[in-house]
């Protein structure tokens, strides 16, 4: 599964995207799995209220299933316009 990071989430994790082997069932499971791997993930995801998630380029949330999803993106609240 492709996992993408943007803005300060990208900066904290240190890469813009990576291929992640996981059997996580939901976004929240994936986050917990990553936080257990290395400190940089733990730091990036320490306050999930400041994190937004998109599944296959559609805004979603932590409780959504990852079944069939190819691309997960984590980023701060958007500041366009």
């Amino acid at each position: 599964m492709q996992v993408l990071y943007f803005a300060w989430v990208r900066e904290r994790i240190g890469v813009p995207r990576e291929d992640v082997e996981t059997s996580a069932e939901t976004v929240a499971d994936l986050v917990n799995e990553l936080r257990g791997r290395e400190e940089r993930y733990d730091l990036a995801f320490s306050d999930m209220s400041a994190i937004r998630v998109a599944l296959d380029q559609e805004l979603s949330d932590l409780h959504t299933s990852l079944a069939g999803v190819r691309e997960v993106a984590f980023f701060p609240p958007m500041t366009g316009g």
Partner: protein, 149 residues
């Protein structure tokens, strides 16, 4: 209906002309242009770095534009959003709407801007003299969305 996500600058006058030239049925054209301000929270801003999510950005902009066209009586619309490094004073974004009626053109342009502010995958980093700072999302921008629901 047309959207562009680009590094290059744009010409608002030329975009207005492209919407309305050769047409005699349009009554009102509204444009919004967003610019990089040189100050934020009392600090001098030299430039702004705009990061986006290629692929999702284009989808989000096309969805916002389609929703505006569904809600209001629009004859034409145009969204251009830049990314990359933009100097203070540079143009960031433009929205143009054309309608037989002024209220439709105004409301649709405001609606599109409100959505771009907090639903299009862009992130701004302000460059000050010695560092960079990610711009926080504003509660006021989130609140602005509620009036359309």
């Amino acid at each position: 209906m047309s959207i562009s996500v680009q590094v290059d600058d744009f010409d608002v006058g030329a975009e207005i002309n492209a919407l309305s030239d050769g047409r005699t049925d349009i009554g009102a054209v509204v444009t919004f242009t967003g610019l990089v301000r040189d100050m934020a929270g009392g600090e001098k801003i030299a430039d702004m770095e705009l990061e986006h999510y290629p692929g999702m950005t284009e989808k989000a902009l096309a969805n916002i534009e389609a929703e505006a066209n569904a809600r209001w009586d629009l004859q034409a619309s145009r969204i251009i959003h830049r990314y990359g490094t933009l100097a203070a004073g540079a143009q960031i974004v433009m929205v143009a709407t054309a309608s037989p009626h002024r209220a439709d053109a105004f409301e649709a342009a405001e609606f599109i801007m409100d959505f771009l502010k907090s639903r299009a995958p862009f992130w701004k980093k302000e460059g000050t003299a010695d560092s960079g700072k990610w711009v926080d999302a504003r509660d006021a921008d989130e609140d602005a969305l509620n009036r359309w629901s």
